[in-house]
């Protein structure tokens, strides 16, 4: 069990790389990602888990990083939007969001990329309704979600190898 410290040392795998960072006991993961690890792709829209802009995967689980204490990820694996593309190759969700114009201002996009990636890993054959419900926690004020949902369904199709 951890000893009480004002700053805690945490080791975690961030986007595939082993990282160590210091955090306060009450500091949330979103803040540490942005301020300590300079992963500014994770956005903070509300800080109360209501907008989804700070979505990341912790051990492949989709979460709001504003509602995870940084100390909780000790020994775990964190994936942020910066780690989604494989080198220069975009993930199909990223590629399809670009092709469909599934972003306007783009502030929700990192969260949408992460959440949609998680959806397609969880369910390769999402219906429109399933995609809409899975992404209900990712608020977008610009697009009306239309092109986001189309992009996600198209990405699913691509990932299935073009099958319907």
């Amino acid at each position: 069990m951890n000893k009480p410290l004002n700053k805690m040392a945490v080791q975690a795998t961030i986007n595939g790389e082993s990282k160590a960072f210091l955090c306060s006991p009450g500091q949330v993961l979103a803040e540490v990602l942005r301020d300590e690890l300079e992963l500014i792709g994770t956005k903070i829209g509300c800080n109360t888990g209501d907008c989804g802009a700070c979505s990341v995967l912790v051990d492949d689980r989709l979460v709001c990083s504003c509602l995870v204490l940084a100390a909780e990820v000790e020994g775990k694996s964190v994936l942020t939007v910066e780690g989604v593309a494989n080198g220069g190759e975009l993930h199909p969700v990223q590629q399809k969001l670009l092709e469909h114009g599934g972003l306007q201002c783009g502030i929700c996009t990192p969260g949408v990329v992460i959440a949609a990636k998680a959806l397609l890993e969880h369910n390769p054959y999402p219906t429109e309704e399933q995609a809409r419900y899975w992404l209900a926690g990712n608020l977008c004020r610009c697009t009306g979600y239309d092109k986001i949902i189309r992009a996600v369904l198209d990405a699913a199709k691509t990932m299935r190898g073009g099958a319907a």
């Binding site: 951890n2 009480p4 504003c66 509602l67 995870v68 204490l69 419900y133 209900a136 926690g137």
Partner: protein, 290 residues
């Protein structure tokens, strides 16, 4: 005052030690209420004790008599357990409604219960299923029915050093099913304006032999409405019986008017939800029979 300390015990005895010295402490399960509370200034613990490294608290166990859900097991894990959603589809409905996919990935039935919001989705579903709370304290264990666990808005029956270990749901007998419905203005990301959880048992002849109906967001705590269950017992779940149950539900409701809905609206809608939940549960039983 900010959080000064984060500890993550790996056993129940370590957890008890962690809470024993009088420091203002909060148990951390999914954190989806606690961390929001800290952010908005409603909660101010000096120490946060993470429960997710304690195996008993995240386990989901199914045996011949009961399903045991560790208090810190995430809703997502419960929803993807091989047995729980099929045995308790109504509980699954309730857990699935607690916030977004992101929230479901972290929040727990135990945390939802301990947070004790009058509008919590899982509580009516747990009450309808006769769930019990297994509680560990300095003087040993005790067990409490869920309907007795919540004592007021955001107030539970835990003493300051007590810990909710798990929720125990008796396995449904043949001919039993449950359902949960809530009303929110949006489809997701919303707080129940009213909610209703039901569990009913019907014999081969279609007679209702057991029933529990619980309602949420219409009183300071979720309510088990025994009069509604009595109205159904022995009936064929015909319209007269359902109308009587709905009337009992509405009579039991004593909601407030607030930004999420008027009292009048809540009283009406909780009846509608109870009626529809009964229809859903009955349909599930019939499907299982056929």
């Amino acid at each position: 005052m900010a959080v000064q300390e984060f500890v993550s015990p790996t056993s129940l005895s370590e957890a008890q030690q962690a809470v024993g010295d009088g420091t203002a402490s909060s148990w951390l399960a999914g954190g989806t209420d606690l961390l929001v509370g800290i952010r908005l200034g409603a909660r101010d613990p000096a120490r946060v004790i993470d429960l997710k490294q304690i195996p008993e608290l995240t386990a989901i166990q199914v045996d011949e008599t009961a399903v045991r859900i560790g208090a810190a097991a995430s809703a997502f894990d419960v929803l993807h357990n091989s047995d729980v959603p099929s045995q308790f589809p109504g509980l699954a409905e309730a857990l699935n409604l607690i916030g977004s996919t992101q929230i479901t990935g972290r929040c727990s039935a135990g945390g939802n219960l301990c947070n004790a919001s009058p509008a919590a989705d899982s509580i009516p579903a747990l009450i309808a299923n006769g769930a019990k709370c297994r509680i560990l304290g300095p003087d040993g264990e005790r067990t409490l029915a869920v309907e007795d666990f919540v004592v007021g808005p955001n107030q539970n029956a835990l003493a300051s050093s007590e810990l909710l270990i798990e929720l125990i749901l008796p396995r449904p007998t043949p001919g039993t099913s449950d359902a949960y419905l809530r009303l929110t203005p949006r489809t997701e990301m919303d707080i129940a304006v009213a909610g209703a959880g039901v569990s009913i048992t019907m014999d081969e002849s279609g007679e209702c032999t057991a029933a529990r109906i619980a309602i949420g967001a219409v009183a300071p705590t979720a309510l088990l409405v025994e009069a509604a269950a009595e109205a159904l017992m022995g009936s064929q779940l015909d319209q007269t019986a359902i109308d009587a149950a709905v009337a009992a539900v509405r009579a039991a409701a004593r909601p407030i008017c607030d930004k999420r809905g008027t009292a009048e609206y809540r009283i009406h809608v909780v009846g509608v939800l109870a009626s529809r939940a009964l229809a859903n549960a009955r349909a599930r039983i019939k499907k299982a029979h056929s």
